[in-house]
Homo-oligomer: 390 residues x 2
């Protein structure tokens, strides 16, 4: 075995689908010596993290806290707590994360009706109304920001629609929370999960979740135990609630980090943060357009946080990504599933969403495309992005 | 809402049931800027973490890696991957974590036969043989180091015994790995999980697990899907194995930290580390005996890593723990379950297992007992511990 030396990763500019770059203040918080998970000072830190999370989700939901796992654990938490074997659930599938939710729901014993759309597309209210009318499901699951396609699902009216049919709305906000508007109370969302490593720019490892009163009531009416002990809200909420009853040891350092990341979010202000994400996205899009590069998601529904673009015909997917990483330290993501080999995913999330990164990425991409003999007008991308900022 | 200020926790000496104090090098690793979870450099770091984990578990098992959750997620991972609905499982219950395993197994659909013993006691080979003979279970689950009672279960012969009955051995090493001998291959353990925040002195958030070839074959023979998508080994191992297929975003900073914590383990050497834990435990025990304080677990089977002791008759449980924390910054644990209000749990784990901490804790405890008018001979504890080190 080769010697395992001191950690010394190369510097990176993280413009993939997550993790995004982490602010130095958050990294410092991670290095803070630990308190015990039942220390009164730590309990206060938990309260603060919850308060900041509620403010981020725009909700008064009592049951709002970070699950001790990554975003997918948040998805599983929502599903297994809302679903009992035999419950009907409609899952909207237009990318990898809709597919994943369908899989998770089936494993929880749900009778799943998938609603399929082409990748990159979004769901219209009318189609959703039709399926709700027909299926009358307990839960409708839908992805707000599809990380695999960059599609931005309108979600403002979904809660109202679901509640007409006595259906609970479950929304995936992994790649939207902190980057574009998410209004849990305003939009009538009953269960929501996110990840820390996207627009909140905290390391991966926690999954913020929130449940409405309606969702909590549904959980209280369960006849069977939640299949997962680790993710069982009836137990976990006794630790995150006033009782402070030991369930599992909280990931203390990660909660330090999340609290600091959320402090940064609210120092900037949510509206200012959303505007920043939009501004940098527009500049990137202008730059890419000038290079002849098109977006994969439907026009008018493209996420500012995750820019999925079609790989130019003469460009080599892997070679381009390798060159960006090795020569410039820039990470972007490849395509997943239907988009494998066809799309690049350029994240502009949280601390990574900066003008410097947009200009640097476009300059580096031009360099790489030139190496490969892909035709484009030299300097056009950087110039168009620069103009967009003016 | 009160302003949420910069993180500034009071200094602590963590002598509870976990987390233990984290070495400064591990805290520094946590603050290292992130690589992407599919970055070639990060994949190499994962390989190194796995190699170090195998060395720590003393195993050649290919399927050895940290689950993206805390110790209890490790327990659930082992159970849900080995068990299919209707499978028979024997769970040994002599404390909170045996109880928990029974609960987790039932939720996974196992037909559980619990084997109960009084808290603080351990299981004899003969009793285990009897139940295996009678039940012929697919899995026997047992806790090596019962964190709630401080009981140290002999485990050397368990694998051989289980395999006589074609039973898989599942061992909980949350409070033993890195503190007392754990020999996964030598003892024939088929599935094992641990936590990072105990004797490995890494922050909580990961659960190292390892599966034998026999366990992997059992998983491959499954007829049903694993009920948890997040913890499904058939999926997770495609990311941790050579394929590097995306499953969920790895908790990058936690893996940095674990790698550094394991580097420290092997710089010290496992045998030296076990000896250190034993030495400090003996000094603590001598000191407590001089104060008239008895251990809760059966004599001869008391963990060096977790010292569960009976609270002296005239001492106030909560008042003592509060005074230790507020005056001296020392955290110790209260009792759980049957031991609530009856026992204190003093952890000497990983970086916390140091002579300084033993002497400081005894001195502070004497101070607190004196305040409360509990009778003991002043200075006797510190003096006896000091002599034990000579």
């Amino acid at each position: 075995m080769a010697p395992i030396n001191q950690l010394n990763p190369s510097p990176r500019v993280l413009l993939g689908p997550g993790p995004s770059d982490v602010h130095p203040r958050v990294l410092n918080a991670m290095a803070t010596p630990l308190l015990g998970h039942l220390d009164p000072q730590f309990l206060e830190i938990m309260n603060e993290a919850q308060e900041l999370l509620r403010k981020t989700f725009r909700t008064a939901n009592r049951l709002t806290f970070p699950v001790s796992g990554t975003g997918s654990a948040g998805m599983e938490t929502c599903v297994v707590n809302l679903i009992e074997p035999g419950d009907r659930m409609v899952v909207c599938v237009n990318g990898v994360f809709g597919q994943r939710m369908k899989d998770v729901a089936e494993r929880a014993g749900a009778v799943v009706t998938p609603l399929d759309k082409p990748w990159g597309d979004i769901f219209e209210l009318d189609e959703l109304r039709q399926v709700l009318q027909k299926v009358r499901p307990k839960v409708l699951g839908i992805v707000h920001a599809e990380t695999s396609t960059g599609a931005w699902q309108p979600a403002e009216e979904l809660g109202k629609l679901c509640h007409e049919f006595d259906t609970l709305l479950l929304l995936d906000t992994v790649t939207s929370l902190g980057g574009v508007p998410v209004e849990v109370d305003g939009w009538g969302i009953d269960a929501v999960y996110s990840g820390t490593q996207k627009c909140l720019s905290c390391p991966p490892g926690l999954a913020p979740v929130s449940f409405s009163t309606r969702a909590v009531e549904a959980m209280n009416r369960r006849k069977s135990r939640v299949q997962s002990w680790y993710l069982d809200m009836t137990l976990v909420q006794r630790y995150w609630g006033e009782e402070r009853f030991y369930h599992h040891t909280a990931p203390i350092s990660m909660i330090y980090a999340l609290r600091e990341a959320l402090r940064l979010v609210h120092e900037e202000g949510l509206e200012a943060r959303w505007a920043r994400h939009l501004r940098n996205h527009k500049a990137l899009k202008a730059g890419l357009a000038a290079l002849g590069i098109q977006y994969a998601a439907r026009e008018g529904h493209q996420l500012p946080t995750l820019n999925a673009v079609l790989i130019p015909e003469k460009a080599d997917d892997l070679a381009t990504r390798k060159q960006l990483l090795s020569e410039f330290g820039i990470e972007i993501g490849g395509g997943l599933g239907d988009f494998k080999g066809k799309a690049w995913r350029v994240g502009l999330m949280g601390y990574s969403s900066r003008a410097n990164n947009v200009l640097l990425f476009l300059a580096a991409l031009e360099q790489s495309l030139a190496t490969q003999g892909v035709p484009f007008s030299r300097g056009a991308g950087v110039s168009a992005a620069g103009q967009s900022y003016r």
